[in-house]
């Protein structure tokens, strides 16, 4: 007789506040319902207020794992990207957010965890172990990650250089990265604004890229970042 594979929740035994901030967090029934309700509301908002236009939707892989990589200029960015995935993938979609900004207080963590389904990425020493957990989880659970390799929102609307950290998720794996470019989110909600303006937003999705041959080392990561940056810039230049 074959043995059963019983796998307790990966965040079992953590107190609620720790669970929220854990990169091992797994959503139960109520959290999943909260995510789905949130994404439905966000999708409706983007469609009506920002007349969201999506180009290249056919490039999205059928199923996870994959990583959406995009330029970053507004808090709306992750919302636009996640809301465009089909329902069955949304429960496995995790925007990767800075632990020191989005998970610093219990209230912020609760919102980031319950509504957005974000996973924390710690900077510095603690980040190395967390990153390995995130990398393993991506493949094992067929997740979809949303990453902004610039590391921060653009203050002037121009795209900054990609940091090599993005390569650490992808080097030596068959997980595809999907380059995306966002237009209009800066005009709608620039970093210093608090209330969004009803500006049209366009999302352009490029062809997936994989980095199976790339070494999971510093040079590999830098090369991946460079190639992805070029791909996203290429999508931006389609306009001009």
């Amino acid at each position: 007789m074959r043995h059963w594979r019983l796998e307790p929740a990966h965040d079992l035994g953590l107190a609620l506040s720790e669970r929220m901030r854990s990169e091992r967090r797994e959503s139960g029934f109520i959290e999943t319902a909260a995510h789905l309700a949130w994404w439905a509301a966000v999708g409706g908002y983007l469609k009506t207020i920002h007349r969201l236009r999506v180009e290249g939707r056919e490039h999205l892989p059928e199923d996870g794992p994959f990583v959406l990589v995009s330029n970053h200029q507004s808090h709306l960015d992750a919302l636009v990207l996640a809301s465009q995935l089909p329902w069955r993938l949304r429960v496995r979609t995790y925007p990767i957010a800075a632990a020191d900004t989005f998970f610093e207080s219990p209230l912020k963590s609760a919102f980031a965890a319950a509504a957005i389904n974000a996973l924390p990425m710690s900077r510095g020493r603690a980040g190395v172990h967390a990153l390995q957990t995130l990398r393993d989880r991506l493949a094992n659970e067929r997740c979809i990650y949303i990453l902004f390799p610039e590391g921060t929102r653009s203050r002037d609307g121009l795209m900054g250089p990609f940091k090599p950290g993005v390569g650490m998720f992808l080097a030596g794996t068959s997980v595809p990265a999907v380059p995306c470019h966002l237009i209009g989110t800066f005009e709608a909600l620039a970093p210093r604004r608090h209330v969004p303006r009803p500006v049209r937003i366009t999302l352009r999705i490029g062809k997936p890229m994989t980095f199976e041959q790339m070494a999971n080392l510093r040079e590999g990561w830098a090369q991946i970042a460079e190639r992805l940056e070029r791909a996203v810039r290429g999508l931006a230049e389609l306009d001009s």
Binding site: W4, R5, L6, E7, P8, A9, L12, G13, L14, A15, E26, G28, F29, T32, V91
Partner: protein
């Protein structure tokens, strides 16, 4: 809904009508006043060290919360008792689902939750036929709906995990709420819950005093044969003695029946405990939750009630009946 039913469901003013309920509440309150005094005295006398003292106080505080959770709904009325048991079943299921990983099978999880809610509704409605019918119907639905995925790999595992969950937390634990359809539900439930909880305490104390041989070392390393026998004797005495007042003048008020009830409570209580221990051992986890310091989660504390509830319900039901004179189908209406 007639006035009598309304009073049963929501009549908190009648909470202390029965002298047995008054006795229980005074007794429990007395214990809660006495226990910390005793713990402090033991500490002063140097009988317990600091570590033990902190552990005892932690357990005491948890018991305070737990006792409130168990007593208040019963005093408030049958409706709150039934809804409380429904909520308890859902919380126990949640812990089970996270521990076994069944929560990842969202459809199965939804069906178990709907099954538990349906049981709670049938109990609230006092619709015994539906209450009984929900067992085969829910189990059948789980087995049937699991086909729809067209994912035969793992079919047996996810169906079996969901069925076991419904059996334990829907069907078995649901019986605890059904007692509330009897006009005498307050004395009966207090008697039952106190006997089950004291069964745990007796097993612990007599195990400490006389326990040498392990009962089931691979399942639960701290349980001893001495503790099991001690609990069986003491719980039987307690349950039979108090049961005599609860069922005074009824068919159950005979020494042999009362002793049988005590034996059922003690054995099923200990088996329920070992059942959840087996699940935890199989999963290599220590506790189902971290909610109550010193106890664990909901399931770690209420495990002994799972098997007791249906066994005692049907024993009492067979000889005496439960809520037979109360109007049935109070929400859906009869034919």
């Amino acid at each position: 809904m007639n006035e009598m039913t309304r009073q049963r469901l929501f009549g908190a003013t009648h909470a202390f009508d029965s002298p047995i309920v008054r006795g229980f509440v005074v007794g429990i309150l007395g214990l809660f006043v006495l226990a910390p005094v005793l713990i402090v005295l033991l500490r002063r006398a140097g009988k317990v060290d600091v570590k033990h003292y902190d552990e005892l106080m932690k357990r005491y505080r948890s018991w305070l919360v737990l006792a409130t959770i168990m007593i208040v709904p019963v005093l408030l009325g049958a409706a709150w008792t039934i809804l409380g048991v429904g909520l308890l079943s859902i919380l126990c299921y949640r812990e089970y689902a996270r521990a076994t990983g069944l929560f990842r099978e969202r459809l199965m999880s939804l069906l178990v939750a709907v099954g538990i809610l349906a049981v709670t509704f049938s109990v609230l409605d006092h619709w015994y036929e539906l209450f009984m019918a929900l067992f085969p119907l829910t189990v059948g639905t789980i087995a049937a709906v699991a086909i729809l995925d067209d994912r035969p790999r793992g079919y047996i595992q996810r169906v079996a995990l969901a069925v076991l969950a419904f059996v334990l937390f829907g069907a078995c634990l649901g019986h605890l709420g059904y007692f509330a359809n009897d006009p005498q539900f307050r004395p009966i439930l207090f008697w039952l819950i106190v006997s089950v909880e004291m069964n745990d305490v007796f097993a612990y104390l007599t195990g400490k005093a006389f326990g040498r041989r392990k009962l089931a070392p691979r399942t639960s390393p701290n349980k001893t044969v001495g503790g099991a026998i001690g609990a069986l004797v003491l719980t039987t005495v307690l349950a039979a003695f108090v049961g005599h007042f609860v069922f005074k003048g009824e068919v159950l008020d005979r020494p042999s029946r009362l002793i049988e009830l005590g034996v059922i409570i003690s054995i099923c209580g200990q088996l329920g405990d070992l059942l959840i221990s087996s699940i935890k051992r199989d999963l290599d986890i220590k506790d189902m939750g971290i909610l109550f310091p010193g106890h664990g989660g909901w399931l770690d504390r209420f495990d002994s009630l799972i098997l007791v509830a249906p066994a005692v319900f049907h024993f009492v039901g067979y000889f005496r009946g439960i809520g037979l004179d109360e109007p049935a189908r109070i929400l859906t209406g009869g034919y």
